[in-house]
């Protein structure tokens, strides 16, 4: 049972802030690190993996800092996003090398077991350079699992996988989480995360935006009452039409634009365009007024 603690961590590169005052605790089970591209997910995982010091704050594994502490790798299995592996080796030679580097008592047996876990027995004798992207991902996974780490960190593990491989990896992660390991993976796709993760941490623009199980996150992102500002060719008629639908809870015409309180974002986002078309109203602007929610909004829109 291992716990990763991120305490008041910020990380900047020159003038660019990649991670901004993030505090989170990642315990046993599967946690999904969710956020759009460039949100700081990789930076966070790289810090948890000990390959980047936080500019301020602390990143610890069971109370011990990870940065410049190579003994922590006895407990950490890392599946990096980078494609590069020792691709002149065969899959099993690569996993075996990882087992030996971990100083395992019986590296050959551990290798066979790890390769069986990721179901790569058939291709293990082939050179990694002949592998598809998904197979590479699995052999990297085997290399990370070979010493049975209590913590598993995966950076965008589903990238480049076909649906079958994706399901297999999801199964595997679920199993590892059920075994009591601390599994953390990053993704920019909500559906992916909610299928595997029992817990979700949302990062947007370097900030820790939300935390909870997927239902809570989904609710937060989609069902929370949000104030939207609309500008159209006929705000008053649009307001009366919108207030007639249960997805809104209020409308306000002050200040030259229409402000609508939205409770069901999914429904609202489908309703507005069709309603405007039916009424012959031209929409000029639809935007959330809350700055932090704007990023959630653009994130959800970008996903579609």
């Amino acid at each position: 049972m291992s716990v990763i603690q991120i305490a008041k961590v910020s990380r900047w590169y020159g003038n660019v802030v990649a991670v901004n005052d993030v505090t989170m605790t990642i315990g046993p089970g599967v946690t999904g690190l969710l956020g759009p591209n460039g949100a700081g997910k990789s930076t966070l995982i790289t810090m948890m993996a000990g390959f980047l010091p936080p500019s301020t704050g602390r990143v610890t594994l069971d109370g011990v800092p990870v940065w410049r502490n190579e003994s922590s790798y006895r407990h950490i299995g890392l599946v990096p996003e980078t494609e590069a592996v020792y691709d002149t080796l065969t899959g099993s030679a690569f996993v075996l090398a990882n087992a030996e580097l971990q100083g395992l008592a019986n590296p050959a047996a551990a290798t066979a077991e790890a390769i069986a876990t990721v179901a790569m027995e058939d291709a293990a004798g082939r050179r990694i350079s002949t592998y598809s992207k998904g197979m590479k991902q699995r052999i990297k996974m085997a290399a990370a699992l070979v010493h049975e780490p209590s913590v598993l960190l995966l950076d965008e593990p589903f990238n480049g996988m076909d649906p079958r491989q994706r399901l297999h990896l999801m199964d595997l992660l679920r199993k590892m989480g059920a075994d009591g390991r601390t599994v953390l993976f990053s993704s920019h796709i909500l559906e992916e995360v909610q299928q595997v993760a029992t817990h979700i941490e949302v990062v947007i623009s370097g900030r820790h935006a939300a935390s909870g199980d997927y239902r809570a996150i989904r609710t937060l992102m989609t069902d929370r009452p949000v104030l939207y500002r609309l500008r159209s060719s006929d705000d008053r008629r649009l307001a009366s039409a919108l207030i007639g639908d249960p997805c809104t809870s209020g409308a306000d015409l002050e200040g030259g634009s229409l402000q609508v309180q939205v409770v069901d974002f999914e429904r609202f986002s489908r309703l507005v365009p069709s309603m405007a078309r039916d009424l012959g109203i031209r929409l000029l602007e639809v935007a959330p007024t809350d700055e932090s929610l704007e990023s959630v909004f653009s994130y959800l829109v970008g996903r579609r």
Partner: protein, 238 residues
């Protein structure tokens, strides 16, 4: 020294096309010597000049460059070093193992060809041939220190190393007086001068100073490399 790291390093060195260069360089040296031995009557006259100006000044630094950067810089470039670094292994073990692999490669593909070249050019003077072999080894070890450090410090280790090897060691170290005293080539030449009776071998640096400088370069280079690797930031982050 870690056998697994040594094996992985060898796989990287010789698994890619760049590894071929390691064979081509000594091949060129030996081919040139054979050609001269077959066509020129008395190669013994210029044997030391060729060994020094082509072998010691060009082939040895280039073989060392490819061996040492191939052992470390290429893994840092493509990011596969992460599989070594994410293990409970001392960073000094990683650096030392890679340096040893580089030196072993330099021995087989730099030092041995130098001795062979010396013998091809002047079979009657094995002493000088062996002296050049030992000098090349001393130079190769010092170059390893420099190029291993350069691999961790700069993302352009190969380019910078190439400019250094060709300009500084190849040209300045041979022809410019002030620069001679600060070139590995001249330091190793001091070692060779001590080991051979050939009057044509002459170093710009005295032997004790040369030995101290050779040793210092290796120690400083490897220490620096270990320190840098210990706080290496992997730039997978956006």
């Amino acid at each position: 020294m870690n056998v697994t790291i040594a094996r992985l390093t060898m796989a990287t060195l010789f698994g890619h096309r760049r590894g071929l260069l390691l064979f081509i360089l000594p091949g060129v040296l030996l081919a040139l010597c054979v050609l001269l031995a077959l066509t020129v009557d008395d190669t013994a006259d210029f044997s030391t000049a060729l060994l020094q100006m082509f072998g010691l000044a060009v082939i040895v630094p280039l073989v060392s460059l490819i061996a040492a950067t191939g052992a470390l810089a290429s893994e840092l470039d493509d990011g596969s070093i992460v599989y070594l670094l994410s293990k409970p292994i001392k960073r000094s073990t990683i650096i030392l193992t890679k340096a040893l692999v580089a030196i072993a490669v330099i021995f087989v593909l730099g030092v041995v060809p130098m001795v062979l070249a010396g013998l091809i050019l002047d079979v009657g003077d094995p002493q000088t041939a062996v002296a050049f072999g030992i000098g090349s080894l001393a130079a190769g070890i010092a170059y390893t220190g420099i190029f291993i450090a350069l691999s961790v410090i700069s993302g352009n280790a190969v380019t910078i190393g190439l400019i250094y090897a060709l300009l500084w060691e190849g040209v300045m170290g041979q022809y410019v007086d002030g620069a001679k005293a600060l070139s590995i080539q001249q330091w190793s030449l001091a070692v060779i001068q001590k080991l051979t009776d050939d009057p044509n071998v002459e170093s710009a640096v005295k032997l004790p100073i040369a030995c101290i400088l050779l040793l210092a370069v290796v120690l400083i280079g490897l220490t620096l490399a270990v320190a840098r690797l210990r706080s290496l930031i992997l730039s997978t982050a956006e």
